[in-house]
């Protein structure tokens, strides 16, 4: 069965390692914080200027001055710190953040990503995404395998304006976990009950399948 958004987040959370600073984008990536594996400690950075983000506040305890990059009200953990946007991106550009998880409209087989603009139709802006993808060593994309029209989002080449070039290391969708290397998507894991054939049929970019592909272990 294909994963729901929480399932994707849960699978991505398995990629977390103890001691990492992590930047989670808007949407599915935000949910990753709900599934931190037992026994490991990670700290969340939000590019609007906070390190040590905590859960959403209880009703009535929202603070307009304390939000995340998705403009949602948040709280902080013990040991948190606030800083300005230049310092925040110094952390990102200077590779002090070990993992970035973000959404995408398209990802190509060489790791290009597009997620900020549909010419003539929609422009959300790149926000911090271009800095994040150009800087981080470890970038995981969380997205649906196909767009609303049913077209694959894992392509030979992106058709939309790029956010970054050859930067995505892994993609986790409702169907699969794919690693990007040597100009191809490598199928690492299938969602429970999803066949390799289905993943193959929904992936337009070059897909490498090596032997038996295990199911995710959620």
């Amino acid at each position: 069965m294909a994963l729901d958004k929480n399932g994707i987040a849960q699978r991505i959370a398995q990629e977390l390692r103890d001691g990492w600073y992590v930047n989670l984008g808007i949407g599915i990536p935000t949910l990753v914080a709900n599934y931190i594996p037992k026994g490991i400690e990670v700290e969340f950075q939000s590019e609007n200027g906070v390190l040590g983000m905590g859960p959403f506040p209880f009703e009535g305890e929202e603070d307009a001055d304390l939000i995340n990059a998705g403009k949602q009200t948040i709280t902080t953990m013990q040991g948190a710190s606030f800083f300005d946007s230049a310092t925040s991106f110094a952390m990102i550009r200077g590779q002090h953040v070990q993992l970035t998880v973000l959404g995408a409209m398209e990802v190509s087989e060489n790791g290009d990503i597009a997620n900020w603009k549909i010419p003539g139709k929609m422009v959300k802006g790149m926000g911090g995404a271009m800095d994040l993808v150009a800087s981080a060593d470890n970038i995981i994309v969380a997205m649906m395998h196909s767009n609303r029209a049913g077209a694959s989002k894992l392509l030979k080449a992106c058709s939309l304006p790029l956010t970054g070039v050859a930067c995505v290391k892994k993609v986790v969708t409702e169907l699969a976990v794919l690693e990007i290397k040597d100009g191809a998507f490598h199928l690492i894991e299938r969602a429970p009950g999803i066949s390799v054939e289905e993943i193959q049929s929904k992936t337009l970019g070059k897909l490498i399948i090596n032997g038996d592909v295990p199911e995710m272990n959620l």
């Binding site: 939000s46 590019e47 609007n48 200027g49 906070v50 859960p55 959403f56 506040p57 209880f58 009703e59 009535g60 305890e61 929202e62 603070d63 307009a64 001055d65 304390l66 939000i67 995340n68 990059a69 998705g70 403009k71 949602q72 009200t73 948040i74 606030f82 800083f83 300005d84 946007s85 230049a86 925040s88 991106f89 990102i92 550009r93 290009d112 900020w116 603009k117 003539g120 139709k121 929609m122 422009v123 959300k124 802006g125 790149m126 926000g127 911090g128 995404a129 271009m130 800095d131 150009a134 800087s135 304006p161 790029l162 956010t163 970054g164 070039v165 050859a166």
Partner: protein
């Protein structure tokens, strides 16, 4: 040096059509509400606004867009601001979208006398068009220029009469860098205290960057995405 002015009207003296403004804030968090509302009243037009976002349709910089006072926006994120997106797509509004980190660093550079710097952000994208590319340590970077403004308008939590500022939580965001980059920098603060009341060790923006400071009359501090969990 006393930088205190009586009110927002006095703070905005000299603001004129066609000028370039920097406005602090991220979304609706930490924006100079009082100054924005006054600029709406003043009706100043043809403004170039450098701000990470443009507020929402009916609050913050969105009000200046609704009122057609803005000729050009320099931002990183349009987000859910429908009027911003509409004016941009229709071509009524010039828009320069730049990566958020580059925006922050370009403002800082403007204030710090650094005319240009290299960054990896935007390489291989539209953002890099027409910009110099250079490889450092095997990685391509693009050259970005400093940004400057006729007026920088920032919002702080506490300020003293010398212009020293302390921001609160994530309402800091772009305010410190923009404060550095204005020919005239205006600070509106929630609480204005006498010089000597703030601990010199806790100042986020030293007063040297501020030309005018006033206590805002009213701060609505609207929340854009109120999210909570249940007890």
């Amino acid at each position: 040096m006393n930088k205190q002015v009586g009110n927002v009207q006095e703070a905005l003296k000299g603001l004129d059509n066609g000028m370039t403004l920097m406005l602090g804030g991220f979304g609706l968090c930490g924006i100079p509400e009082n100054s924005i509302n006054e600029i709406v009243k003043l009706g100043t037009t043809n403004l170039t606004c450098i701000s990470n976002n443009a507020g929402v349709d009916d609050f913050g910089l969105g009000l200046l867009l609704q009122n057609r006072q803005v000729k050009k926006m320099i931002s990183s994120y349009v987000g859910e601001n429908d009027e911003f997106e509409r004016q941009m797509l229709s071509g009524e509004l010039e828009v320069d979208l730049i990566p958020q980190g580059s925006l922050a660093e370009r403002c800082r550079a403007g204030g710090a006398g650094i005319p240009a710097f290299f960054t990896p952000a935007g390489y291989g994208t539209e953002v890099a068009e027409g910009k110099e590319v250079r490889v450092f340590n095997g990685k391509p970077h693009i050259l970005e220029n400093a940004l400057h403004a006729d007026f920088a308008i920032v919002k702080a939590w506490k300020g003293d009469t010398e212009g020293n500022l302390i921001y609160k939580a994530t309402a800091r965001n772009f305010n410190p860098m923009m404060a550095m980059a204005g020919k005239i920098t205006i600070a509106e603060v929630e609480e204005l205290v006498p010089a000597g009341s703030l601990d010199p060790n806790e100042i986020h923006t030293p007063g040297i960057f501020i030309q005018r400071i006033f206590q805002g009359e009213k701060f609505e501090k609207r929340i854009e995405q109120r999210t909570t969990r249940s007890k």
